[in-house]
């Protein structure tokens, strides 16, 4: 999981800026490519076997945007990422991750850097966007089962005075644990729900890509 890229947040512990978010996204794109087969295999087991290809297509498009366009503010960047994902991914994950970034952008309006608290608002807005769009809840065996505990862990860390890096690290840990917890769940949303009880025993692909996303913020 640990990438060789140096911690972008480390040098600027109190805030997260456009370069940091850019690095986060590039690292995520690389990790998605590295995990494409794993995501596809997880999706084949309880879905339709395209989550790896979907996420790779989307994050490749995001990297192409990053390569082409300089962004001045966090919200401009996040909004463009969201629109790019919506326009390139399709399936369930496209609108959900797309909505995540589109909503993530809002609390960061006009900001080139954000502190831990505002970043928390952005994360919350993003996760609530996923909930609104997909109408799933925690325990339904979806990406929310990584996002929701991650969000709670982030907020708790910030409440305890943590800087973004530390709070994101807690979020990543909680997200990974939440993802692991999907193994035993019976799916109630998404394609996996068609399997009923047979969906238990498999890790949710979307929760896996979500856990990866959180880990890429800090690793």
């Amino acid at each position: 999981m640990m990438s060789a890229v140096p911690d972008p947040v480390a040098g600027t512990p109190a805030t997260l800026g456009v370069p940091d978010l850019t690095t986060w996204l590039r690292r995520y794109a690389a990790e998605i490519v590295a995990h494409e087969q794993e995501l596809t295999d997880l999706d084949a087991a309880i879905g339709d076997g395209d989550h790896g290809a979907n996420m790779t297509r989307g994050m490749t498009a995001v990297v192409a945007v990053l390569d082409q366009t300089p962004f001045e503010t966090l919200d401009a960047l996040a909004k463009k990422v969201g629109m790019t994902l919506v326009s390139s991914v399709g399936g369930a994950s496209g609108p959900l991750y797309g909505t995540f970034w589109l909503r993530f952008a809002k609390p960061l309006s006009g900001l080139a850097r954000t502190d831990a608290a505002t970043l928390g608002l952005a994360l919350r807005a993003g996760v609530e966007g996923i909930q609104q769009r997909g109408k799933a809840e925690g325990g339904d065996k979806t990406m929310l089962d990584a996002f929701l505990p991650a969000l709670a862990a982030y907020d708790a860390a910030v409440d305890a005075g943590a800087e973004p890096t530390a709070a994101l690290r807690d979020a990543a840990t909680a997200g990974r644990a939440g993802c692991a917890a999907t193994v035993t769940m019976v799916a109630r949303k998404g394609r996996a729900s068609y399997l009923g009880e047979r969906s238990a025993g498999h890790q949710d692909p979307g929760a896996t890509s979500a856990a990866l996303l959180l880990e890429c913020a800090v690793s």
Binding site: T40, I46, G49, D50, A53, G90, A92, Y194, G196
Partner: protein
């Protein structure tokens, strides 16, 4: 994995290239947005019909674009719903002043992407959009707490019948009502004896032993509700027909349109044989099949198997079914 393809990522784009050439003059393909339109401009004042979904179900949906059926089909990647951009563009292109009906198969991805498209159209254009979500697959338990039932064979009927209504110049609300009526009166169930392989995945989605089959499969290569012993055709027909008939329920004296659909890799000789078995069961229940359709209409790549869709018919549906249609995959009356 052996398929008649080049790079797995290019399958949809390259297949559409061949489709466009094979049906030039009849359809027009926007290759940038992987969307198929009728070659002829829509008649002013008629409702536009837009459908779409993941690719891999051919001839659905692109093969149903044409006179008397769809106005446009948005093609997603294999088993991946299209993106809102495609649906927005298609909606704008086919609107002829009477609004546009979105026919959406009930899958989380399809529903959300069409939903976002409809939101964008509502925000940016003065086009009335109605949406009908199809969910006819009895293999999946219906519940407000789940993703709900899948849209399968009823989609073919809805596209034909709503398409015929649109061609008659009927208003959006009526065209949508017909699609909804079709969905409410249709039930489906599918099975597979061999799984499909998504090109980019490179291996089958599930595996089956020599004496196993998968019951209650959808059209995305997903495993079914249960792996059961492989059985003779007569038995398979029963395992498909009984849950279908019980669910609506259908009753003696009902007239029905019936689709005995191949999943992509099952030859016609077997599909006709299966239809014979199904027809015998329906006759036994006193159900009169007034229009049968046997063949590959809504497939799951190279999956071997079949699905049964029964639609309770009335005079109006029959009239709409018999109306002329001219698409790559369904054609009569012209």
């Amino acid at each position: 994995m052996k398929k008649l393809i080049n790079r797995p990522q290019d399958v949809v784009a390259e297949s559409l290239r061949g489709f466009a050439l094979a049906h030039s003059g009849k359809v027009r393909v926007d290759h940038d947005l992987a969307t198929v339109y009728r070659a002829e401009r829509p008649l002013l004042g008629t409702v536009g019909l837009v459908s779409g979904g993941g690719s891999g179900h051919e001839p659905l949906h692109a093969g149903f674009v044409g006179h008397g059926m769809l106005s446009a089909a948005c093609c997603g990647q294999v088993f991946t719903s299209p993106v809102p951009d495609q649906v927005v563009a298609a909606t704008q292109q086919v609107d002829a002043g009477a609004g546009v009906l979105h026919l959406v198969k009930n899958y989380t991805g399809d529903v959300m992407n069409f939903e976002m498209a409809a939101e964008i159209v509502a925000d940016t254009a003065d086009i009335e959009v109605a949406t009908v979500v199809l969910d006819d697959d009895v293999a999946v338990q219906d519940s407000t707490w789940t993703a709900g039932r899948r849209g399968t064979g009823a989609t073919v009927f809805a596209e034909k019948l709503a398409g015929a209504a649109a061609e008659e110049g009927r208003p959006l609300a009526e065209v949508a009502a017909i699609a909804r009526h079709v969905n409410e009166n249709a039930r489906s169930m599918g099975m597979a004896i061999a799984p499909s392989t998504v090109p980019t995945a490179g291996k089958p989605n599930f595996t089956l032993g020599e004496d196993e089959m998968e019951l209650g499969v959808g059209i995305h290569g997903e495993p079914g509700r249960a792996t059961v012993p492989y059985a003779p055709a007569a038995d398979i027909a029963r395992q498909l027909a009984e849950p279908v008939l019980a669910d609506l329920p259908f009753a003696g004296g009902d007239r029905a349109l019936v689709l005995l659909n191949g999943m992509g890799a099952t030859p016609l000789i077997e599909l006709y044989l299966m239809y014979g078995e199904v027809a015998a069961i329906l006759a036994g229940h006193g159900i009169e099949v007034v229009r049968p359709l046997v063949g590959n209409y809504i497939t799951s790549l190279d999956m071997a198997g079949c699905s049964l869709t029964v639609l309770r018919a009335d005079d109006e549906l029959l009239r709409l079914w018999d109306a002329p249609v001219e698409t790559p995959a369904l054609r009569w009356g012209r």
